[in-house]
């Protein structure tokens, strides 16, 4: 830890280093994210989580696709793969199966994971491949300048829905649960502490886990939709969010308007054999594994 300067009235003591600095690639910071973006908060929670769990950092692998969120793989100081748009999950599948010792996490955006990448999500969850998927849902494609995506709420304005979006968005936790993810939760970046704990949980859990993080994107979503800057979007979440672990799937729809709540929580936590476990079981029965 660093040497600390002397403080004076009101002014906070200033230093040069942060206790999580070793988890980040210092030579790549500052990150590219806009002021008020929630991605930095999500990354801090993740950094804290991978530091806290009982898995050596060198056995942790972080993957992402393309997008603002996708840049996270480039900042966290573990082996990391920034793949093609939408393809982090199958890449992670191959990596995990080839070396089952690794703790493999895919951290990417709503567009990356659920627009172009939706099918891979389905199949990895179905197979119960032992990887963790963390999705930052900012209701738009941030990286390309704020277009509609599969989570954009009905009526929302984006650069490709100038008259309001007319597509029903996904209900991500429901989708994940319906295909069989063994752990499913949702938080906003305001729920940092819950989020961090959820991440710890997911990292340690066997099987396909899914965390949705609702995050402010002032540039692509907040401003065009009168949610304002990051701070204002978080205020909105403070007001509207409700923790409800036993919420019905319907309640998890996100409307982002009127008095509709933003329901967060821990929705699924169950067990079923992973891909590799079932493989082993099947091959063992045929005498192909001892």
């Amino acid at each position: 830890m660093s040497a600390k300067g002397a403080g004076n009235e009101g002014k906070i003591e200033t230093v040069e280093e942060h206790p999580l600095d070793h988890i980040l690639r210092q030579d790549r910071l500052p990150h590219i994210w806009c002021p008020g973006c929630g991605l930095g908060s999500a990354m801090t929670c993740f950094a804290q989580a991978i530091e806290r769990v009982d898995i050596p950092l060198k056995k942790q692998v972080l993957l992402s696709g393309i997008g603002c969120t996708g840049r996270i793989a480039g900042y966290v100081n573990v082996d990391s793969y920034h793949t093609t748009h939408g393809r982090a999950i199958p890449f992670a599948t191959g990596l995990k199966i080839a070396n089952p010792e690794l703790c493999v996490t895919v951290f990417s955006g709503d567009g990356d994971l659920f627009a172009i990448g939706g099918n891979h999500f389905l199949h990895a969850a179905r197979r119960n491949v032992d990887i963790n998927v963390i999705c930052v849902n900012n209701f738009n494609y941030g990286m390309t300048g704020g277009q509609q995506g599969p989570t954009t709420p009905v009526e929302a304005k984006t650069s490709t829905t100038r008259y309001g979006s007319f597509e029903h968005p996904f209900n991500l936790p429901y989708l994940a649960a319906a295909i069989g993810a063994v752990y499913v939760s949702r938080w906003t970046t305001l729920h940092c502490r819950h989020l961090e704990k959820s991440m710890e949980k997911a990292l340690q859990k066997k099987g396909f886990t899914f965390i949705e993080i609702i995050s402010p994107c002032p540039t692509g979503f907040g401003r065009p939709n009168k949610l304002g800057e990051g701070l204002e979007e978080l205020r909105y979440y403070r007001e509207k969010s409700v923790i409800k672990n036993d919420a019905s799937w319907d309640e998890l729809e996100l409307h982002m308007r009127g008095e509709e709540p933003v329901v967060v929580g821990d929705f699924v936590d169950t067990e079923r054999p992973t891909y590799l476990e079932l493989e082993e079981q099947m091959l063992r029965a045929k005498g192909l594994m001892k």
């Binding site: 060198k58 920034h82 093609t84 890449f91 990596l95």
Partner: protein, 378 residues
């Protein structure tokens, strides 16, 4: 069960390809069935669990290649096998493999195209796609077998070359060879020369994309503690994205030079009676078996024809073609396509190249080749 099935076999081309992969040490296959490459996948599904490897059937070809790249990054020799439609879908991730320098083998058992085309019949019309199918500039490496034995042998070569130069390598087979059964002799495991990717010697100062003098960087694997970052964005020696002209120049030219500089070692071809040939027939894969017969007949009829059979179509053996262009009067290029590699030959012999084309769906007839030979012999 053994990975190397030493002995003499009467074996389907596609199966020989799978056995070649196993002999080369392949332990991961990520695939999606497609005629006429399915038998390779099916064989791997049967055999990999016997040798401690993994077969996974992915949801599509995009996922297949992604999984293969992922497995390779974890340090396992990996492959996939497909045909035209799947090869088209793999193009984006081929680029990722090139730029991240991830070794793997992609087998394309070519069928008739375009589109769904002729699933059960042969074509060789993906040859240019192997070079140009993904966006951006890169050099491709492609082996083209013309027998079941070569399905076995060249798959091993492909793995070795992929590992050596750290990039995806293609085996551009075709339905005729893939669905043909011939004698395949598998040598003892010790007789099979295997190459593995270069690995970093120490962590200190290791930069994942800093090449050695041979332009090839040693490869750190996931989970070894190097804390590497690997990206499809333009990146510097650290592997960090840098979005500018200079980094792009450095990265792209190195990746291209990596292959071009070693091309003389990669180039493989077989020449028959070319020493004194007026007419050089350039061919490859199934078509080269017709070409061979045609050249034999032509010689019997007193025409000085010779055969240059390409084993690596990419990198294209320019140097040798240039040399031949100095003495040969003309080239005849038979292919089961509408004229693809003939265009490469033209680059070195404008106006002296005759293409023998076939739209696909069957074997090129030796007579058609012979006719062109005679035409230019006049």
């Amino acid at each position: 069960m053994k990975a190397v099935l030493t002995g003499s076999h009467f074996m389907l081309g596609d199966i020989a390809c799978a056995e070649g992969a196993l002999a080369a040490g392949c332990k991961f296959f990520g695939g999606y069935p497609i005629t006429p490459a399915t038998e390779t996948a099916e064989r791997m599904a049967l055999r990999l669990p016997q040798v401690g490897g993994h077969y996974i059937q992915m949801e599509d070809e995009i996922g297949s290649l992604a999984a293969v790249l992922g497995a390779s990054c974890a340090g396992v020799k990996s492959m996939t096998a497909t045909s035209g439609p799947g090869f088209s879908l793999m193009q984006e991730n081929i680029g990722l493999g090139i730029v991240t320098e991830t070794p793997c083998v992609i087998v394309n058992v070519q069928r008739g195209g375009p589109s769904t085309g002729l699933p059960t019949l042969a074509g060789q019309a993906d040859m240019m796609q192997a070079k140009w199918g993904s966006h951006g500039d890169y050099e491709a490496i492609a082996y083209v077998p013309n027998s079941c034995q070569e399905m076995f042998d060249f798959t091993i070569k492909a793995f070795n070359t992929a590992e050596k130069y750290r990039q995806p390598v293609f085996v551009m087979a075709d339905e005729i060879i893939g669905h043909m059964t011939e004698r395949v002799v598998i040598p003892g495991p010790k007789k099979i020369k295997l190459v593995s990717r270069k690995r970093p010697k120490r962590k200190k100062n290791y930069l994942p994309f800093k090449p050695d003098k041979d332009l090839i960087p040693p490869m750190a694997l996931a989970g070894e503690g190097y804390g590497i970052h690997v990206t499809g964005l333009t990146h510097d020696a650290r592997g960090y994205p840098v979005i500018d002209e200079e980094t792009q120049h450095e990265m792209v030219t190195r990746l291209i030079e990596k292959i071009r500089r070693h091309a003389p070692k990669i180039w493989e071809f077989e020449e028959v009676m070319t020493e004194d040939a007026d007419i050089v027939v350039v061919s490859y894969g199934a078509a080269s078996r017709s070409a061979g017969r045609a050249v034999n007949i032509a010689r019997k009829e007193g025409i000085k024809a010779g055969l240059m059979r390409l084993i690596t179509v990419w990198p294209f053996p320019e140097k040798r073609i240039k040399e031949l262009a100095e003495s040969a009067k003309a080239f005849v290029v038979p292919e089961i396509n509408m004229g693809q590699i003939s265009r490469e030959v033209e680059r070195f012999a404008s106006g002296r190249v005759l293409s023998v084309t076939h739209a696909g769906g069957g074997m090129l007839s030796p007579e058609a080749v012979l006719q062109k030979i005679k035409e230019v012999a006049k």
